[in-house]
């Protein structure tokens, strides 16, 4: 039994939804233009870029491209579970330890890491962005 318990816990933490909730009404303080684009450019699009072919993505899955807001909207929950901080989890799985110095290049440098505040802002922005998408789909201009 002890062996089985060890196996259960040996894998460490796993990606977990942060549980971040966007305030109602949406304060619109975090947007793609004033936060998301810069965050993704600094920390993510070295590998998660729609211009990169499979062989240059350093393991990043296809359809997980964050160089556009449309790309982020495809997988907001995954981003939250990988890199967001919130009431239920503090996820630091991304960025990884090593990054390329040029987009799509070899992993030849340590990845820059977001601060805790940036990670909280990321989770909040994603939570609000999902609501905005819902509002847009419903025909309401949220911004």
């Amino acid at each position: 039994m002890r062996f089985l318990i060890l196996l259960f816990v040996a894998c460490g933490p796993s990606p977990t939804p942060t549980g971040t909730v966007c305030p109602d009404p949406d304060p619109l303080t975090l947007t793609w233009d004033n936060f998301g684009r810069d965050f993704m450019t600094r920390y993510c699009t070295w590998c998660h870029d729609s211009s990169l072919p499979r062989s240059q993505r350093n393991g990043a899955p296809l359809y997980h491209d964050f160089d556009t807001l449309e790309g982020v909207r495809l997988t907001p929950d995954h981003i939250d579970e990988q890199a967001g901080f919130g009431p239920n989890a503090e996820n630091e799985f991304m960025p990884p330890g090593r990054c390329p110095t040029t987009k799509g290049g070899a992993l030849d440098t340590n990845c820059p890491k977001p601060t805790a505040e940036e990670r909280r802002n990321l989770a909040m922005w994603l939570a609000c962005e999902k609501n905005r998408e819902f509002m847009r789909d419903a025909g309401v201009d949220a911004q």
Binding site: L4, L7, F8, A10, C11, S14, P15, T16, R54, S55, Q56, R57, N58, G59, A60, P61, L62, Y63, H64, H78, E81, F93, L107
Partner: protein, 242 residues
């Protein structure tokens, strides 16, 4: 007679052992190319195993070490450890049926596609029928994840031995003994997702096996027919019986 099934190896597709032996230690080498919706690449693995069996019971364990290349990144690591047990409930050497079960422990890195990220229970029923030089074997079971993993919620995972979170498993195949020491065979196996999102998986295999003294060696060529488990995979295994 040669074993229809290879020595226990890190495969989640059920295979019933069809022969009695004492102890066996084996190793399998696997190489595959894959292309799923999100990932493309290849992997190579070394899978040592231990197996014990008598006329009615069998048990075994295997653990794999892989080199995995996915979307331009290369990773090295262990896969999930698998423990296997089986008991013949009715019949004799010519025709028998029973219960088998495997359980995998999440020792592989699920985020890199080397492991499931959770325990997997894989019970099944098996039947074996030997007619002269021909052996037919089939299994049917249900496999279910215990616990969860975000990577696995949306379909088959991991990259190296993909399964659905909840699926009906099945296999059917036959072998023909060209000589007492040489056997060829073919098999199809798969998984059908049940209750949760997933992919229907079908794998076809051609196999040759031969025995020499205490050694049993097999080579198998597998093709992913449905569900993108892999494009093509080769497995070479050998086992020494004591």
């Amino acid at each position: 007679m040669l074993c229809w099934a290879a020595p226990a190896r890190a495969q989640h597709h059920h295979e019933a052992d069809t022969d009695a032996a004492s102890f066996a230690a084996g190793v399998a080498m696997v190489a595959a190319a894959f292309e799923t919706m999100l990932y493309a690449g290849n992997y190579q693995g070394v899978i040592p195993s231990l197996r014990w069996a008598n006329e009615r019971f069998a048990a075994g364990a295997s653990a794999a070490a892989y080199r995995l290349e996915e979307n331009g990144a290369t990773f090295y690591g262990f896969g999930d450890v698998i423990v296997h047990g089986q008991v013949t409930v009715i019949g004799d050497r010519a025709a028998r049926a029973g219960v088998l079960a495997s359980i995998s422990a999440p020792t592989g890195d699920d985020r890199r596609g080397l492991g499931m990220g959770h325990v997997m229970l894989m019970p099944a029923l098996f039947g074996i029928w030997a007619i002269d030089r021909v052996v037919l074997a089939a299994t049917a079971g249900y496999s279910r994840a215990i616990g969860g993993s975000s990577a696995h919620e949306h379909g088959m995972w991991p990259l190296v031995e993909p399964m659905n979170v909840s699926e009906v498993t099945w296999s059917a195949g036959g072998g023909y003994a060209i000589t007492p020491a040489v056997q060829v065979g073919a098999r199809v196996s798969g998984g059908i997702p049940i209750g949760l999102p997933g992919d229907n998986r079908v794998i076809g295999s051609l196999r040759g096996a031969w025995a020499s003294g205490r050694f049993q060696t097999a080579a198998e060529l597998q093709a992913g027919i449905a569900g993108d488990p892999f494009i093509i995979r080769g497995v070479v295994s050998t086992a020494l019986s004591f």
